[in-house]
Symmetry: C2
Subunit: 340 residues, 2 copies
């Protein structure tokens, strides 16, 4: 149907140049010279897998730095693995380019993937590359492993469980505003260069909490990564578990940089609680294990904060500093999104 513009030999050279180095240490990748990869799973373990596509104009800006685009494409998938208590292993990448790629662009993209996979202790195992109409799209299938039957589902939380969240919430939302809005409009005129950089980086290079997978695997009753917005994702967890949740809003961890920007801008805590793209983890942990979970997280070097409790009554309530209870709908960024 389509006439070829890049010959098979050039495709092969392209893959060998940019992507084969990312697969070099994974024997099952067969140096990206075969049609399939072979994944070895430890005895008594299952392979955990997820696929997510990121597309220009929807999940990132086409003129974002290629290394940041690559990083995010892998990170959003690793975030899912970690929230399920799995140790990341490897990934496949299906790359759709809108035209023949510029060499500098490709090298920077490959560098970003390389940085991400080193950070997450993963290897490229295979993939496919096409040039076709439409936005630049990176579809990554990520693989992790865990002892058979121990995947931490969304369901499983019980009334009385404590709700922990990793890291800080809302930085990515503010970083997104910094990325595409005028400083005047978002109260960023007086933001220090450092705060600006912190928030932008959190948007461009989300950092899934890989170090926490084991503590989650051992102690979380239910968990989910925060991709659609903290409240919305807690609601998804609660709904899947047939329970509700009560969140203590002032306890939700906010970075100093975010607090700085809230002080001078139009945004409030509610925006941060319902925005998406944090790629933190929310975990429900039995009350009796809360201290132990906190201790394990400390050991792993990941900040976790107890922000509320699982309730018998369904629905998510958010308790404000005044003591007022707000009942929020499931709102926030939605990945089943229309054209960007």
């Amino acid at each position: 149907m389509a006439k070829t513009s890049i010959t098979n030999n050039r495709e092969r050279a392209f893959i060998q140049r940019y992507f084969a180095p990312l697969a070099a240490e994974y024997p099952g990748a067969y140096a990206l010279q075969d049609d399939c990869a072979a994944l070895t799973v430890e005895a008594g373990h299952q392979l955990i897998t997820t696929v997510d596509a990121v597309a220009a104009g929807v999940h990132f800006f086409a003129d974002d730095c290629p290394s940041d685009i690559a990083w995010k494409a892998l990170a959003v998938n690793v975030s899912d693995l970690v929230a399920k208590g799995a140790r990341p292993l490897a990934y496949l990448m299906s790359l759709a380019l809108p035209g023949e790629p510029d060499q500098h662009w490709m090298q920077d993209f490959a560098d970003g993937l390389s940085q991400a996979q080193s950070t997450f202790a993963m290897h490229l195992a295979g993939g496919d590359t096409d040039i076709r109409d439409g936005p630049l799209t990176i579809t990554i299938t990520a693989f992790g492993q865990l002892p058979t039957g121990t995947m931490i589902e969304r369901s499983g939380s019980e009334p009385g469980d404590r709700l922990f969240v990793t890291g800080t919430i809302g930085d990515s939302f503010l970083g997104l505003q910094l990325r595409h809005s005028k400083d005047d409009a978002i109260g960023a005129k007086e933001l220090s260069a450092n705060d600006r950089q912190v928030l932008l980086q959190r948007y461009l290079r989300p950092a899934p909490r890989v170090e926490l997978y084991q503590a989650l695997n051992q102690m979380a009753r239910a968990s989910i990564d925060v991709s659609d917005g903290l409240i919305k994702d807690i609601a998804s967890l609660a709904t899947a578990s047939g329970v509700g949740a009560e969140i203590d809003a002032p306890k939700v961890p906010i970075s100093r940089s975010a607090a700085q920007m809230l002080r001078t801008g139009p945004y409030g805590l509610d925006d941060l609680l319902t925005a998406g793209g944090d790629y933190e983890v929310v975990a429900a942990v039995a009350g009796a294990n809360a201290d132990a979970f906190q201790a394990e997280a400390d050991k792993a070097g990941i900040a976790v904060t107890d922000i509320g409790v699982v309730t018998l009554e369904t629905g998510v309530k958010v308790k404000e500093a005044s003591g007022a209870l707000l009942r929020l709908d499931e709102t926030g960024y939605d990945h089943f999104s229309n054209r960007g």
Copy 2:
């Protein structure tokens, strides 16, 4: 960045309506209600995986029947698994829709997936769905399994090996011409309705040779699926193995329907040998095992034909009926294709 047009609840309802039935019998799919799937691999086995995207205007026509589009999206991936000697197990699907889908379209698409996965003995295990600009794109990650260390690579063939091909070659190419050209131009005016239907179906619904995976796993030294064109794929196998090949052109199996169309049209055997989309398998089998392989294929109900031999001298030679030797370049349909 993008404003949502379909709420999360509607996305959930959409997935539960059309796709959850395809995952119902696979426990590791968690009824498509979690972020990851869990794949269980038998002890002593590896998971074999591959990802391929098919896009409207490149790999199929946007107005093809949705059930055919779905079938093909899964079939092209299964073809890779089978050629590697793996038994198909499950798949993930990442679906990019150019707009909110019509209900009839979606139901027909889901029906096609259902037919394909039943035929290939697979289950849907997970995926993601987005609405975004660009052509309708279906990215499938397919999983199979085989005893650890037994993946049949492209490399591994040795001089003297017999080259077997499954089924018939070139039907899909002729079906593609029937799908998009005027009968006059392609010599199809006198083609019977039955021949027309046979060739069209071979283009629209390629049938990977699932029944042969075990014979390939046990007896092939090297194999590859025929997706880019018979000669090109044999060249890829030979190159990976550091050998050459000599093909006996008159032995290449052609269907009666294809022969009928060649008789009245502009196309010749060369077109069939270099066209793509057959999704048959080419396997190199040690001479001593050739009869046994043939017998196993018979038992599995898959036609295989001995079409040539692996040679010490590199390059692919094609021996014509006259006895003349043609040395062909690697030509044929190229999936690293420009905009359709």
